[in-house]
Symmetry: C2
């Protein structure tokens, strides 16, 4: 198989974890006789520093021309505390999502037996947790009209959803549930928001097409509690953009292994794969970052290409490596290997 | 002191916990020579069942005529899964908040040493947690324009905030921080939302007036993680309505004692005091509910009346009772006392 992959390393530890992910991709290519062509491009604070734009046109073009995008991470603290800043690294990511129509953000969260002690939750609460969040990514309050009144004394953000936007991601989530433990939980705020009522109505209307899937509805405030109280009750969680931002980040810390969590953002034509940890600037350049999330993102990419055997091999090797205790400093402060070493091991295991 | 108190028991376990709270209030009145006059009124599903309206005009009038409102809880599962229902119990609560201008919802969360094993978090994570959430309660996406397109194929919810709305609750939160551990964390999504940028700007502008308060800014997705990872880093959390709904509920489960958490909703003229647990219909009528949250809500009411000694006495007695192991079934499945017994004990201790 021949594929064109856009590589957007971004900020902080993005470049170094992306490098290990590409290393593993190359090992897969070699082992299975695929041909992956890489094109690097700037994004985020790195792009602002060089071009003044968090998503230069050239980067967008590279992405549009690619079969998939491997994304590092973006964000730099120097932009965070200036509410009047005109250019922000995050705009690059948001524009990329919108321009490529990446409407479904998929985030699997699972526990690793040998790492369960890292969870902030008690073992008996978190054990067995294996869920995936389907977050709508190109609609809602993120992309509605926003602005200020003329005198600057008030601000607004509009949240919009159409049945069509809800249906396409709901379809994906229902199908995912069919291939998993057959449970889907819609997280909304249907007791307050009209958009949430549209979500609930649309999902209710679709449910009869998936008679094998058990559908539940949870208000977002309750979901935030249930994720802590009994995370293993969840299988597929479906939700809108803003709630998904909060709920998926909350989900990601319950297993204690945020450095291991990948994500995929899928659209009609394009797709982007990204570790969910942030840019973590304090660790940048030290070869201590955990590249597993980026590498598992590559596995999601391979799955998306239909290369299931290849993806499965990476996943199994990661499981094995972790079980053996070959982990980075975030997971074992005494006995750890470097970021690049993880990439080496996972390449050699292929 | 003479006070008029509106009592709105509501649904589920609301009536029984409210009854115990009134019992304790009466004991306070007797011990300190105050005079509290109570007027009961219908709200929520109970009000719909009787009048068709979740907040009958009569109830609103009783509240307007009162010095404070003691609220039980509302909600009935029969209304939850019908997104097209025209009347919902929650509308009663939302209308009450808006009509009385209860703009600041205050929710203290603290750990009890003897109950720390109930926390879903590991002991070393949750120990020492003592925070309070200041949630804006009458603005934002809850009360903005909402509706459907004509063809019903799309829906919208508008989020609005003015500097004035932000300032009045920010002032309260800064003052609370001054009387506590002098740290204030604004939770927003200023990297995406214009309203959040207005929040951040307004809080930044106020900060110099409180030079003794340390101000931090957290994105809501990060806050959802930090609350699990290191809840004891927080002192006062300030946030807008929708984020506050999620964050305050998330906060409420980390200590493992949701049955103990009170709340106050404060406005210019009126104020409402309410346990934060829901209506918990499964437990209703069995005398097993935990009335401590309702009773601590009464302590917040007394504090609000300026009756600090009285409030402090209830708080100390509750601490003592819990330390002694005199708790309801939710906190000790083997050795427990009833809901009404808790009210008796706390009245006798006065
Ligand atoms: C950086 C930010 C705009 C982004 C979001 O809110 O979507 C991030 O938090 C995420 O979840 O990918
Ligand atoms: C019942 C509901 C409308 C309400 C809210 O969302 O504000 C509740 O969750 C709360 O937090 O008091």
């Amino acid at each position: 198989m021949k594929k064109k992959i856009a590589v957007l390393p971004g900020d902080g530890i993005g470049p170094e974890v992306t490098k290990q992910a590409v290393k593993v991709l190359e090992a897969v290519a070699h082992r299975f006789g695929h041909e992956f062509e890489y094109e690097k491009a700037l994004v985020g604070a790195a792009a602002i520093d060089e071009t003044g734009d968090p998503l230069p046109d050239e980067t967008l073009q590279v992405c549009l021309d690619s079969d998939a995008i491997l994304f590092g991470s973006i964000g730099d603290p120097k932009y965070d505390n200036d509410p009047k800043a005109k250019v922000r690294p995050e705009q690059g990511l948001l524009k990329l999502r919108k321009s490529l129509g990446l409407y479904a953000n998929i985030r699997p969260v699972k526990t690793y037996k040998s790492l369960i002690d890292h969870s902030p939750l008690k073992k008996e609460r978190v054990e067995g947790t294996d869920l995936v969040v389907y977050r709508e990514l190109t609609g809602g309050i993120y992309f509605g009209e926003k602005g200020r009144s003329e005198d600057g004394e008030s601000a607004y953000d509009h949240c919009n959803y159409s049945v069509e936007e809800i249906e396409r991601i709901a379809t994906m989530a229902f199908e995912a549930a069919q291939n998993r433990r057959k449970k889907l939980t819609l997280v909304d705020k249907a007791n307050v928001l009209e958009t949430s009522r549209l979500w609930r109505q649309t999902v209710q209307a679709k449910a009869p097409n998936y008679p094998d899937v058990d559908v539940e509805y949870l208000f977002v405030d309750n979901a935030a509690m249930q994720l802590i109280l009994r995370p293993n009750q969840f299988d597929v969680i479906l939700t809108e953009n803003m709630f998904g931002d909060i709920i998926s980040d909350e989900s990601s810390v319950i297993t204690g292994s945020i450095g291991l969590l990948p994500s995929a953002s899928i659209g009609e034509k394009n797709s982007l794969f990204e570790p969910i940890h942030g840019s973590y600037p304090q660790a940048a350049g030290k070869d201590i970052a955990n590249p597993v999330a980026a590498i598992l993102s590559v596995a999601m990419m391979l799955d998306h290409f239909g290369l299931h055997e290849e993806a499965e091999m990476i996943n199994t090797n990661v499981d094995h490596m972790i079980k053996k205790g070959l982990v980075t400093q975030d997971l074992d402060d005494h006995n750890f290997i470097t970021c690049s070493k993880v990439g080496d091991v996972l390449s050699l295991l292929l």
